[in-house]
């Protein structure tokens, strides 16, 4: 079954097209790397798929549901880790997870939430406000928040951002776990070697257009002194 199907996707900010005629399909359970230069449209693509923003043109279906017509149903199936962490700074790590648990009608008890924090290595900071956390710790907490959703389609925008080497391994383990569970994952990243090793497929965006879609192992190498493009299809 196709988990994500996009066709003719366009989104613009002012006069600049962030996405132009982007179309692709992702089978259920696939792990897909989304890459490209800064400003190539990776985050915009993930935010359109997550229903955080609307496309100006084109269609997207997530597990058969149209993101425009059936927004609520899509939101029940997706989880987004964005550049912003979706956390409340004055609340503690535990309170942030409790808010999400209550909205999702999950167990907001301390033990259950501590177990979640343990997974991301933050159990010892459970009662500290997020505003005292470093950027890497916030990213870990955002990952814990994302895991609470138990979504069928997970969208990760630079999940390795701000993390230390153990944090990198944490994300690697998370991706392997999601793959084992059959979760579909789209991950925007600049870490090409890591992406190639972990992902089945790759999407390469260039100035809002899809420059490559295929097996991650066949993804072209970046070229140019500034890494400004990809060897094929750019």
């Amino acid at each position: 079954m196709i988990a994500v199907a996009a066709a003719g996707l366009c989104r613009r900010y002012g006069r600049r097209w962030a996405l132009a005629e982007v179309g692709f399909e992702v089978p259920e359970g696939a792990l897909v790397m989304v890459t490209g230069r800064n400003g190539s449209g990776k985050s915009t693509l993930l935010r359109v798929l997550a229903t955080a923003i609307r496309a100006d043109r084109g269609t997207v279906r997530i597990l058969g549901h149209d993101v425009h017509a059936d927004r609520e149903a899509v939101r029940e199936k997706i989880a987004l880790l964005g550049h912003r962490t979706h956390l409340y700074e004055p609340l503690t790590a535990l309170e942030n997870l409790a808010v999400v648990a209550r909205f999702l009608s999950r167990d907001p008890g301390r033990e259950a939430l501590l177990a979640r924090l343990e997974e991301v290595g933050l159990a010892d900071r459970a009662d500290d406000p997020v505003q005292t956390f470093s950027a890497g710790m916030r990213q870990r907490l955002a990952l814990a928040r994302l895991l609470q959703q138990e979504a069928q389609v997970v969208l990760l925008d630079e999940p390795y951002g701000h993390l230390d080497p153990p944090g990198f391994l944490l994300v690697d383990r998370l991706l392997q776990r999601l793959r084992a569970q059959g979760t579909t994952v789209l991950m925007a990243t600049h870490l090409l070697h890591r992406g190639r090793a972990l992902c089945d497929r790759a999407l390469v965006l260039e100035a809002g257009r899809l420059a490559f879609a295929g097996a991650a192992s066949e993804m072209p190498e970046p070229v140019g002194a500034d890494g400004a493009g990809f060897a094929e299809g750019a």
């Binding site: 923003i53 029940e76 979706h86 956390l87 808010v99 909205f103 959703q149």
Partner: protein
């Protein structure tokens, strides 16, 4: 209803964590009342006559700080967007926030009453009625105020824009609340309090209903 209670619990917790800010907003309101009293001068009759107007002006000015602050926390790390994507009902999020804002403004209004009594010699024995007017008036401020605070939270220059949008809309609340409070302080020989209180209630009902309907359009792309 369950989502509303979850949202309200979250907003009350956020307010509690930002309580130093609430004290600062109260100090701002009290300072405004003090400055208004200087503008009138030492004439105790004039002070008493204008007390209700200045109480509500102080509360209105302080409310813009309070309402804008309530969305600061939502926008810092796009936490509101995170809740919408869970998905949480936009309507529940609105009513949770609006009720929390109402509670804060009502508390602020009640706290400014003793300041008004001291500065303007404007006491009343009808304290329950005064509390009722404060509750109705702040309900009329918090419903549209929460909606407009959400609207302006993502815009540069929001501190200016929020009062520019909100003040013209809440003129009926200000007018009715000032008249009702004046009647309580200065006496109500003609029994005019009820119509003004009814106007406040009608305004609040309309704007609480409208806010719930419009909030998702304001916060969604």
């Amino acid at each position: 209803m369950r989502s509303l209670l979850v949202a309200l619990r979250k907003d009350l917790l956020l307010q509690w964590r930002s309580r130093t800010q609430i004290v600062a907003i109260f100090a701002f309101g009290a300072a405004a009342l003090l400055l208004f009293s200087f503008a009138i001068g030492p004439d105790s009759l004039a002070l008493r006559q204008h007390a209700a107007g200045f109480l509500w002006l102080g509360l209105l000015l302080a409310s813009t700080l309070s309402l804008a602050e309530s969305f600061e926390r939502e926008m810092e790390e796009q936490a509101l967007e995170g809740l919408l994507l869970l998905p949480a009902s936009a309507r529940a999020l609105y009513y949770g926030k609006a009720i929390a804002n109402w509670a804060q403004l009502a508390l602020l209004g009640a706290a400014l009453v003793p300041v008004t009594v001291v500065l303007y010699d404007a006491g009343t024995l009808r304290l329950v009625s005064l509390l009722g007017v404060i509750l109705l008036g702040t309900a009329g401020l918090s419903a549209p105020g929460t909606l407009y605070a959400a609207m302006t939270a993502q815009i540069r220059g929001r501190q200016t824009l929020l009062p520019l949008l909100l003040f013209p809309l809440v003129v009926p609340v200000l007018l009715a609340a000032v008249k009702a409070t004046s009647l309580l302080i200065l006496g109500d020989p003609m029994g005019q309090l009820r119509p003004w209180a009814t106007l406040l209630a009608a305004f609040a009902v309309i704007h609480w209903a409208l806010g719930g309907l419009l909030f998702s359009r304001v916060v969604e792309d």
